[in-house]
Amino acid sequence: MSADAVLYDHPGPRAKLRNLILTIVFGIGLLALLWWIYSKFDEKGQWASTLWKPFTASSTWTDYILPGLLHTLEAAAVAMVLSLIFGIVFAVGRLSEHWWLSVPAGIVVEFFRAVPLLLLMFFIFFGVPFLTQQPMSVFWAVVIGLTLYNGSVLAEAFRAGVKSVARGQSEAAYAIGMRKGQVMQYILIPQAARAMLPVIVSQLVVLVKDTALGYIISYSELIQLGVNNLSANFGNVVQAAIVAAIIYIVVNASLTAVAGWLERRTRRTGKAPKAPGQAVPAGVVQTGEAAGAV
């Protein structure tokens, strides 16, 4: 059901009046809130040009924001590749017919999906050096943490995708003499990847957002450089945070737009198998915009 215009009739004169009143009341409330924020900021001198001026200087961008963004994207890109590999390996492992493969893979995936990423990063960054007697690179602490968490989520997505491929597909493949590995490689994975593409992309948005956790273990990403270090020099923490937020929103909104486009495309060509809905086992990631990608 498309929600628009089905839930209510075309407005007649009374409904139009009511909608107008609601618009005005809500609009005034919203403007009042914005005005309150504006005047509070004004009171604290947050609109002072010295606080905003730095963002027009090119050195601010080349010294702080762009290197920060670069580090964020760097960690995100490496973690994306690694977590896709991790996801495929553990999805295949969990689908294996050998219990000594599927049980450990299942335990690993369930464990890393349930542990908060920050806890994982703290362990890797602060705990592992005690074990190896060597300092841990903060970049790898972030990347490994991101890989273990997002890779596990992707493994579940792939598994749901493989299960959503019609059984006739693998039966036909076995019938023409393909081996288990071949069926997985040539028949199931390509179709599963296509079906789960929107979920995979929205998980990648989550991954980009999660690089921000690197700030907490002082990885020099966008918040560390663009908000923390920048505001240490100019005293404009609120302004820097607003600019950083806008950058994140632009990056992630474009990724989300790609996801939406892919979803429409796969739906149109009709090649994707039916999205795995209620029938998937408990705890499995489901398709759809909101599916577990928080």
Binding site: M1, S2, A3, D4, V6, L7, Y8, D9, P11, N19, L22, T23, F26, G27, L30, I37, K40, F41, Q46, F111, A114, V115, P116, L118, L119, F122, F123, F126, G127, V205, K209, D210, T211, A212, L213, Y215, I216, I223, V237, V238, A241, A245, Y248, I249, V251, N252, A253, T256, Q278, P281, A282, G283, V285, Q286, G288, E289, A290, A291, G292, V294
Partner: protein, 224 residues
């Protein structure tokens, strides 16, 4: 496991998870209320409300929670003077609840909206045909059916909220991840048991919760 025979360490552990529990409960309430309101706005006949809902979702869904919590502290607290309590921990806790609710509400809203899309159009048309208003159509006919379809996504959103509660540690609350960091730094010889206890607590609680929501979703699913 010698670390946890020291009662001070056990105390750190318990305090950390109590904060997570409180953040989860309060954050869930805030996110559900806000999320349902936002979803209602996004399907309402009033364009301003729709635009507001859309703007909210696009803003908060695409901003890292770390930055939102950060902003709650420096924007809401330091600049706008929002103070919930004189006790610094309590104040940080409430700032964390605001950040978590505002962020998670965007996801709850989208989950409910996609739930509304699973209800056949005929349901809403029938409701309108017998003269129900928008509010009646939504609250009596659509939302009860949509609610059943969103149990599974809502479950994973709430589980994520519980895990995300650790991020409130950014503004200095001694929640579980900060507690673990302190214990690791003080007991370098027992890193693995410490990690296993903290991570294990989350796993033991959250994995069954995930299966519970899956079971509930299957049970409540509307058979069509």
């Amino acid at each position: 496991m010698d670390v946890f025979s020291d009662s001070a360490n056990v105390d750190t552990y318990v305090t950390g998870f109590l904060w997570i529990l409180k953040l989860t409960v309060a954050g869930t309430l805030g996110a559900l209320v806000l999320g349902v309101l936002l979803a209602a706005m996004r399907v309402s006949p009033v364009p301003v409300l729709r635009a507001f809902g859309t703007a909210w979702v696009n803003t908060f869904r695409n901003t890292p929670l770390t930055l939102i919590i950060f902003f709650c502290y420096f924007g809401l607290f330091s600049t706008l003077g929002f103070t919930a309590s004189d006790d610094i921990d309590r104040n940080n806790y409430w700032l964390g609840v605001v950040g978590l609710s505002v962020y998670t509400a965007a996801f709850v809203c989208e989950a409910i909206r996609s739930g509304i899309n699973t209800v056949p159009a005929g349901q809403a048309e029938a409701a309108r045909a017998i003269g129900m208003s928008f509010r009646q159509t939504l609250t009596i006919v659509i939302l009860p059916q949509a609610g059943r379809a969103v149990v599974a996504p809502l479950g994973s959103i709430l589980i994520a909220l519980c895990k995300n509660a650790t991020i409130v540690g950014t503004i200095g609350l001694a929640e579980s991840s900060n507690a673990m960091k302190d214990l690791i730094n003080a007991n370098g010889n027992a890193v693995i048991p410490i990690f296993l206890v903290f991570a294990g607590t989350f796993a033991v609680v959250l994995i069954p919760t995930g299966y519970f929501f899956g079971w509930l979703a299957n049970r409540l699913a509307v058979k069509r």
